[in-house]
Amino acid sequence: MTVRLDAKAPNGPIETRWSRHKAAIKMVAPSNRRKHEIIVVGSGLAGAAAAASLGEMGYQVKCFCFQDSPRRAHSIAAQGGINSAKNYQNDNDSIWRLFYDTIKGGDFRAREANVYRLAEVSLDIIDQAVAQGVPFAREYGGHLANRSFGGAQVSRTFYARGQTGQQLLLGAYQALSRQIDIGTVRMFSRTEMLDLIRIDQKARGIVTRDLVTGRLEAHVADCVVLGTGGYGNVFYLSTNAKGSNCTAILRAYRHGALFANPCYTQIHPTCIPQSGEYQSKLTLMSESLRNDGRVWVPKSPEDCDKDPRLIQEEARDYFLERKYPAFGNLVPRDIASRAAKAVCDEGRGVGPLINGQRRGVYLDFADALRRLGHTAVEERYGNLFQMYERITGEDPYEVPMRIYPAVHYTMGGLWVDYNLMTTVEGLFSIGEANFSDHGANRLGASALMQGLADGYFILPYTLPNYLASSELRPVAEDHPEAQRALQEVQAGIHKLMSAPSPKYGPDWFHRKLGHILWEHCGMGRTATGLRQALKEIPTLRDQFWSEIKITTDPQHINPTLEKAGRVADFLELAELMCIDALHREESCGGHFREEHQSPEGEAKRNDASFSYVAAWQYSGNLAYPTLHREPLAFESVTPSKRSYK
């Protein structure tokens, strides 16, 4: 397949690009909309918002999720908030400033036109959510309240306690529910997409497995939308929900959709540190905690095992405030994460020794408790404190929290043009499943914004343009291509179930893969480490196919089979991530190549050579994908050294 990367991003004044684009694209008349069937995979913020919006517009939508209910998509776990350039605080916020902060936060590796559009529609998202009944925090006059978040000098984050993602998702889910009742959306819960169906080079359907009965089915439609989230679970230990996976986007990659910037992984600085080898996931504490919590470690390694309350002020190193006085504890996530890793690597980490190292820094609320009082702190962060106490058995009102960076969000994903369409015609990708908008690092409170922007306000305009301008001959589930995809999935399951010398369950392999990736493609990467990973991953993959053990039959609920399929795909994606990380000879955002840093240890970008999106095409051989470059043009902002000092 020849690929021509055409971003289709409009030119001209950036402020009017989206409105001019909307005015120029084609539409589908209301009476024709019900003739079109659309498949939406995923029911998180992006998927639910898209399915609800398209259903309401009059299209026939089929929506799929692997959970028992669309309300359980992982968007629900986002805690801190959602950004919008409303400038309610009168603190000089604007669409321009949100755009600029996002471009800069992403280390100048995002597409300008997309990011500006995101900032622009961020205003509408808050209106929409409030109208749906999202109970955002309010001020006494009844107006919306805001707080600040990392990477910004304004307060533009809207929040609903520490449960913003939950509330926004419930808003989208309820809008979806309304459409399900009306009949415009058919919901398929406990149903997992296992392959894409391509007919005449166009995405025309998917193959699914019913997770209760094991039944495989082909579903056809006029186009397919993937809103299946990110792939951070490739690391095994991450803040992602256990079920989050890369299967849908990886299958799309194998069908010719380009995978962009796979190595861009965001490491979130405020997670609860790991407590042991049995651990299944890491728990995030909202970044909003850094508004009032002060991050520190002892100045001297001898103090690291002492009760922190007994360590005097002068013996503490408030390293973020020291190194980055302008932003202090509110520096962006990549900066805060690396700074925390650096002090732990110096031997000044706190908490229990795991494999001979203390991996934790304090997040201390003692000052905030003195300044604001117990009640105010509880009002702001009560549920987060409670969650921390549950997990660690320590009371953060009494002793400082311990935090450490963890894998959180993946900025890479399927390459999409300005219309959110991948390089496979009729295949769209929205939310975290695509690569757009965040560049090499995502600012806090921007993931919810992007998911909803794509689902409510962008795809409902750009997808009809595709329907109106494409020739789509009718196809049915018995089409040879659909049947071929169905048989391939069947064969894949059979292969998983019949390994020659079955020995271990999927978690065993997943943990091994996670170790390799965290070690060599985690917070710090080197050419040597990545080459090592590229040797280890294929070996582990071979071992997986020879020793994977699944003990229940595939015609029943079979979580082992589900996991095994997902791990098989992670094992392929992991290789692509390392290939991408190895080729990008620079440091930017979440991608920190240790060979490329300033004498002070800050990331050193190489704009002359790497100011592009790396979009990889499956070549038939996992080890040798073909690289396509989308050059990034910065017309509205000038790439500068990211400084938060």
Partner: protein
Amino acid sequence: MSLLRLTLHVWRQASANEPGSFQTYQANNVNEHMSFLEMLDVVNEELIEAGQDPIAFEHDCREGICGACGMVINGVPHGPQRATTTCQLHMRHFTDGQELWIEPWRARAFPVLKDLVVDRSAFDRIIDAGGFISVRTGSAPEANSTRVPKHDAESSMDAASCIGCGACVAACPNASAHLFVAAKVGHLGVLPQGQPERHDRVRRMLIQHDAEVFGNCTNHGECEAACPKEISVNWIARMNRDFLKANLIAPKLPKNT
């Protein structure tokens, strides 16, 4: 750090149509920092390696917010710790040598699908019936044009914290889902945006509730005690008032269109 040895009696049921029974497993070397689900993960890996069928249970975010997990542990939904989901229940709350009885939610409206996995789609159908505010995408008024008193926003958020896990149903002697419905009715009903459909919403949701064969509320209060998000039974009283008013004074609307 101490290690625990536990005896687990787990409900095993191959499918909805087959009878189930308790089976006993030994969990040795249980680290006190493990979550309850991590303890089951370890048991399951051992079962797989021994060639047996692992215990099916639901889980996803493991942060106490998605509502997927949930099992009855020694007779208490989500286990012995108050206001805690099973994924957030840590093994430090158990003692060495303890016996645990682990069962699925028991309710006619939540048929067992396998082992500890039940079908909670009835909750979705209740929301489909009216648990929303009807608003078109993209044409909402400016957010600050709808002012919401701080107290109402907070109160709404208290109800909106419901994670739809179903513990209230499992705890109720009548298997009633009134706390779940009341939480949604309350969340939307205290906000100005929720007023136009307020009475119709409660009526539709409760009609669907009954159609799903959930039982009625007889004020036991077990739901509140079991709720991992501490949703108050006061919301049920409020829902009942709305329902009464809806039937007495509010006009009946046609089916949702």
